[in-house]
Every structure is written in C-alpha cells, then in structure tokens.
C-alpha cells in the first residue's frame, strides 16, 4: 500500500464545510464572518504519551481529544484539523482502528479532517486543530481576578492512577484498573462546557500536565494567586478508583497527575448560578475547589483549613 492509497483508504472523506479538503497542496477554508479563529497543536509520541500496547482505536480518539480539549479551554467551537502521521509501517489493522477512533470523535464534534501529511518513521501523531468563537469571546488564561471562585470539571486523578498501576507502583482490582485506564486512554474533551462558559468564566485552561501546573499557568498569566481546598479536590477521582487508592497517592494523582483533560476555570462568585447552568446544559459536573487571591501564591488548604507544606510537581517533558 503506497502513501496515496493509505490516505485515500483511511483518511479521505468528502469535504463538508471545507471549500477544498484533502488532496490539493492546501486545504481551503472560508471562516465565518464575525468570528475569531482559535488554533492549537499537540504531538503524541510512542512511549512518552502512550504505551506501545494501546488500542489503536483509543489512540485515534485520544490524539484528537487532547486537541479538542485545548479548544474547549478557550471556549471555541471545533471546526477542522490537520493530521501529520509518522508510521514505522503501513499496518492496515492499526490504521483501521486508529482512523475509526479518530473519525468517531471528529464526527461527534463536527470537526473535519482537511489535510495533513503521512511519512515513514518512529510513531508520531501531530494534530493541529482550528476552532472559532464569536469575536472577542475567547476565554484566555489571563483574565482571572482576585475573589473569583475556582472550579474544575468532571473527575481528576484517575488517568494518573492508571499510569501508576501500569508502572507497578499500585495494584488495582481489574474493574477499577479498567475504568481508570479508560480515563487515561480515552479522555473526554469538555467541548460543550467550554463553549457554555463563554461570557461566564474569566479565565480557563485544560488540565493536561496536572491541576497545580495548569492552574499555575492561569495564575502566572493573570498575576494572581489561588487557594485550593484539599477537602474539595480529594473526592474528584472516580468513586471506585478513589476507594482502591492509598490516601497520599490519591492526593498526588488529583493535584499533579496529568492526562485528565478536564477544565480548570474561575468565575465571579456572582456568576455561580450561571456556572451551574453551563454545567447542567453541557451535562458536565463542575466542582468548586477554591478561590483566586491577590497573593500571587498557590496555597493548598488541608482538611483542617490550614496551609499544607507538601510540594507537588507537574509534568515537564525536558526536566
């Protein structure tokens, strides 16, 4: 199977929104008037972002999910993406599973594959995604204000726990491992919640490298601090995984574990009903975990309400 056959067979679909889709030197796209575009890119490398044993269907899903999550974090509506794929060989079963996982998620979000590249080399999946928002409505990291309530969506820490189990650092009952592994391999990008929070959230980021690290980006960009109530974040793991996890490890996973692809955001306390409405509207649970302060520091308040001294790390590819 040659390069062009491979594209034709597994990746070419009729253009639906694009003026010109796959098959020319460039894709051609007419942006919606009155809208700004949001762009993000994520690269997934075998052994770094996923295990060689991963189900290719899950990998196709995750490759797009992590990019959709960046759009969600800006409140953008997904539109289109480009996929650059380096493959050791043209393995039809792998390509079949991968493309199915990819397209299932892309169709769910109306996000069209409009171009990309295919080459031979170590397995590497690079996606660039484009979404849009009505002009001026992108949610940035830089808008947090002292006094804002701090929230996270969904569940935190399960993906990290699955990785710890893979590494043999913790032993989990099979059913618990399976549900945690699904959180790691098939994250749910919070696209509908992100859009529903336009005009409500003052700042937002997605949690890819751990809550503390990604919240840290908001604090730095907004030049503010935050207090997190540990009593509010500990229960954020899936119930069954939380019960199977030692308390210290649970806190590590929730606060510093990567790969959750939930949203962390802040909003005025006066907007709490609107936040709840956005959560209901998008069918995504949202939990208030603390507040933004003017201290320029990130403080964890323990079960006793006092600041904790334990240090946590977020993920960095080169440290």
């Amino acid at each position: 199977m040659g390069e062009f056959d491979l594209i034709e067979r597994f990746f070419k679909r009729p253009a639906f929104r694009a003026d010109v889709g796959i098959g020319d030197d460039c894709a051609v796209w007419s942006p919606r008037s009155g809208h700004q575009l949001a762009f993000s890119a994520d690269m997934l490398v075998e052994g770094r972002h996923f295990l060689p044993t991963v189900n290719p269907r899950h990998l196709g899903h995750k490759s797009l999910a992590v990019n959709l999550s960046d759009l969600a974090a800006c409140g953008a509506t997904p539109q289109a993406f480009l996929l650059s794929l380096s493959l050791p060989r043209a393995d039809e079963a792998w390509l079949d599973g991968f493309s199915q996982g990819l397209f299932q998620l892309s169709e769910l979000h109306g996000c069209e594959l409009i171009g990309g590249d295919t080459t031979q080399g170590p397995l590497n999946i690079a996606i660039t995604i484009m979404g849009d928002t009505p002009r001026g409505q992108s949610i940035l990291r830089s808008g947090a204000k002292a006094g804002d309530d701090l929230y996270v969506s969904g569940h935190l820490g399960d993906a990290c726990l699955a990785l710890e189990a893979f590494r043999g650092k913790v032993s989990l009952p099979q059913a618990v491992f399976d549900s945690a592994r699904l959180r790691m391999e098939c994250p749910t990008p919070r696209v509908a919640l992100g859009q529903a929070l336009r005009g409500i959230a003052n700042a937002m980021a997605d949690i890819s490298d751990g809550l503390l690290g990604d919240l840290g980006h908001i604090l730095k960009a907004s030049q503010v601090g935050a207090e997190i109530d540990v009593s509010a974040v500990t229960p954020l793991m899936l119930t069954e995984t939380l019960w199977s996890c030692p308390h210290d490890l649970a806190l590590d996973c929730v606060l510093s574990g990567g790969d959750d692809y939930e949203l962390v955001f802040c909003a005025s306390p006066f907007a709490c009903a609107q936040v709840q409405h956005a959560a209901n509207y998008s069918g995504t649970p949202v939990t208030r975990i603390g507040r933004i302060t003017d201290s320029q520091r990130l403080v964890l308040l323990g079960f006793d309400g006092l600041p904790m001294t334990k240090s946590f790390h977020s993920f960095d590819h080169f440290s």
Copy 2:
C-alpha cells in the same frame, strides 16, 4: 532547561498579527475579511527527510520552506504557522541554530509562529501553516485545460543530485556538491511567484516528490494529459551541476528527483506575456516545458520530438 524555558528562550516572540500568540491554550487569530484561508502540514523525520549531519540552521529553514512551498502552490499569502517538535534532548546549540534558520525565513515572509508543542522523542518536526487569498483566487490542481502551456519555476534536479552524491552514487567536485547540497538543504519556496500567478495559472502544484509525480497529481485532478519536451527540461539543473552529471542521471534527477520545491503550473497560451510578467515581478525564472493535452497520458518527447519509452518513478513514503 525545562519545556517552558525552552519555548520561552527559543521560540516565543511578541505577537504581531495574532490577537493571542504563544502561551495560552490556543492562539487567537482574526482572519482578513473577503479572504479564504489555505492550510497545509508537513512533517520532517530524521533519516527520511534530512540527514543527521544537517546544519540545524538549514533544517530550521527547510522545515518552514516546505510548508511555504505548499502555500505558494495555491497562490496564498503566508500568515502564520504552528510548530510541533519532538527532540531527543534539549540541545541548546541545536535549538539556537534551528530557531535562527526558522525565524529568518518566517520573518522574510511575514509568517508568524503562533503556537505548537514541544516534547521529548525521536527528532520530528511537524509544521502546520496558514495563508490566505482573496476569496475564490486559490490556485488548485484541478483547473488544467487541454491546450494550456506547461511551466516550471527555477531549477530542477540539483537536490536529487546532492542526495545521489551523499549516497556515493556519483562523485562531484566540492564546489558543485556544495551548491547542489544547498539546493537540497535550503530550498527557496516560490511564494512571490505563486501569488503573482493568481488569476493567470489554471492549475499549480509544488514539486516535492519529483516533476513527473507532482505533475501527475495535476493531470489526475484535472482529468487531462501532458507532453513534456525533454529538450526543455534537461537544462533546468544549475549550470555547474549539469556539467558534472552524466546525462542519464541528469534526466532522472530533473524528471523524478524530489526536494526541489519549485512550482509546476499551466496557463493558457494567451497568458504567456502575463506569465512572463509574473516571473519578472517575482524575480523567479520560469521555463515552458510542454503542454496540457486531452489524452489523459503523460508523454515525454525526446530530443527527436518522438515519445520516449523509459519509465520514471516519483517518491512514495510507503512503496
């Protein structure tokens, strides 16, 4: 040096056209009204697209040049790009050279780095580029008409000859090797010519996999054929490399050699003065090499004007 320091030090520049550049979950961009967007993506893998010995400055240049070349092939004006980079380690000297080569070319074309990703892994450079054209003025592969004249820009075959020399298949005088190698490692994307051909060229593609292969894409998309005059294409190599190259190899390099990043395009014979004007305006030589036919076949006419029977191949990553 951590991931964020690396980005800050080597890749973050103040946004000039972007509403939000590097440093948030997404870049935010306001498209120009009345314009369509053109997108392309190219992935470069060590050992496949470049040799481990390549000068990192040249590699930075080439990584962007191959993407600019795709925009040129559509007649688009470069606007912005995203860079996803997988690196075995954070090598400061390499990053310094790579980023200098990249930014020198991006500044020349006013094409802004607005986002991307950085991770650890086998060396892989994935760029997605965005340009724009006034609405309806993109030049596609599908517009060739029987009777059109067929043209190529600049020089062909030198990059391929350099690769053959690297492989030890041909021996070249040092000065000749150096100039051919520069064509391979630092191709010149024909951006100004591409834009100047809007409204003139009926179809266009860039030559990355070889003239015959890339022209073949135009013929297939336009459902036409072509005749190429071998006497017109043979002189297209740089003069000094042509003299150092056996005749058969020269023809192979010119017709099937990849990595030239010139443009192949066709235009009505009535537009030949306009084509020449576009060439002069953009400072890019253009050579008429044949014509589009209604035969649906690609025929090479030898020095005697008769069809040749020798077969040529273009590059395919998986065959």
